[in-house]
Amino acid sequence: MPADPAIKILVVDDMSTMRRIVKNILKQLGFSNVEEAENGQEGLAKLKEGGFGLVVSDWNMPVMTGIDMLRAIRADEATKTLPVLMVTAEAQQANLVEAVKAGVSNYIVKPFTAETLQEKITKIFP
């Protein structure tokens, strides 16, 4: 089922520029209900508020990394099926394998294009 434009999306990245870029692209793709968090811990706190339909997260972040947040999301009954899209500069195969094992929904390597983000969202919500 295609992504609902009203879906609430959480963008987690320690870099304010990356959060703004992802938010802007999502807006251009028709998704304007976007919230932000600066690290995994803050992301998990936001997710507790409920109502999120997708998480777009970086990997390398202080306090709590994206992969640790992903594991926490999958371990929580309330969020275990929540789609998580990893957007990261970690382009090693080992990273990708680790993310897949942790239950990532899809994986984008930085730098990326709007088309790539759109394509991955379409794959998550076919």
Partner: protein, 241 residues
């Protein structure tokens, strides 16, 4: 037995000379090591400043890009409205009005996409003129459709500008890794200073290296940098208007 003792003394003498030379060399290295360990925190601080500078610059480009995107959304809405009116054959002056407003918006805010926007402004202007003269609507609808198409093309370019700004994140991540390495080297140098007692009492002459000069230049450029407001105030006091 006497030969063996002589050989032992000779070996011990050799070892003592080697230790003495090594200690002297370590002592000579003391000042450069101490100076380097002093400089490293500053170098790391400049690298962190670099991240901040690129972050600020990137946000400014994003702000301007977002303003153009918002303006595009408004113009696209007006063009759609105008197209609908033309297709329905409704009153022309009202359409001309919308077109002029669109044209003004196009002219207002763009210096970056000049060529494309000038073409768009020309098309809008032509459409408005034709409508004002009360000419027929079919070609106007075409012109409006073309204008909207060009706007969409520009929107794609704007998204490309936005995404290409992700370079800042990649730069920041590499700078962070460099800073970590510098801190690690600094820690190891300090360990050397402590272990070998290579004290740097501050009265020793500074060891001049290219790095020292570069660091001085960096310090001068960051600590002496003035904000434009302050520059203008000072210029004003000298009679500059």
């Amino acid at each position: 037995m006497a030969d063996a003792n002589g050989h032992l003394y000779s070996e011990l003498g050799e070892l003592a000379r080697y230790l003495d030379t090594t200690l002297r060399k370590l002592d000579d290295a003391g000042a450069p090591i101490a100076t380097m360990s002093d400089q490293l925190p500053e170098a790391a601080s400049h690298l962190e400043g670099l991240t901040k500078l690129t972050e600020e610059g990137t946000h400014e480009v994003m702000r301007l890009t977002e303003e153009i995107q918002d303006s595009h959304a408004l113009i696209a809405g007006m063009i759609s409205k105008a197209t609908a009116l033309v297709v329905k054959g409704q009153i022309f002056p009202c359409v001309a009005c919308l077109l002029r407003e669109s044209q003004q918006l196009v002219a207002q805010d763009d210096v970056h996409l000049i060529d494309s926007r000038e073409r768009l402004a020309g098309t809008l202007s032509q459409a408005a003129e034709t409508l004002t003269k009360g000419q027929s609507g079919n070609c106007i609808a075409c012109a409006l459709t073309e204008s909207k198409h060009r706007l969409l093309q520009d929107d794609k370019r704007l998204i490309e500008i936005m995404t290409s700004l992700s370079f800042q994140d990649l730069v920041a991540q590499r700078v962070k890794k460099l800073t970590t390495i510098i801190h690690d080297v600094e820690r190891k140098l300090l360990e050397l200073v402590v272990v070998f007692g290579l004290k740097h009492d501050g009265t020793q002459p500074e060891v001049k290296t290219e790095a020292t000069d570069l660091l001085k230049e960096l310090n001068a450029s960051s600590s002496n940098a003035m904000k434009q407001d302050l520059v203008d105030d000072i210029l004003g006091k000298f009679g500059f208007n």
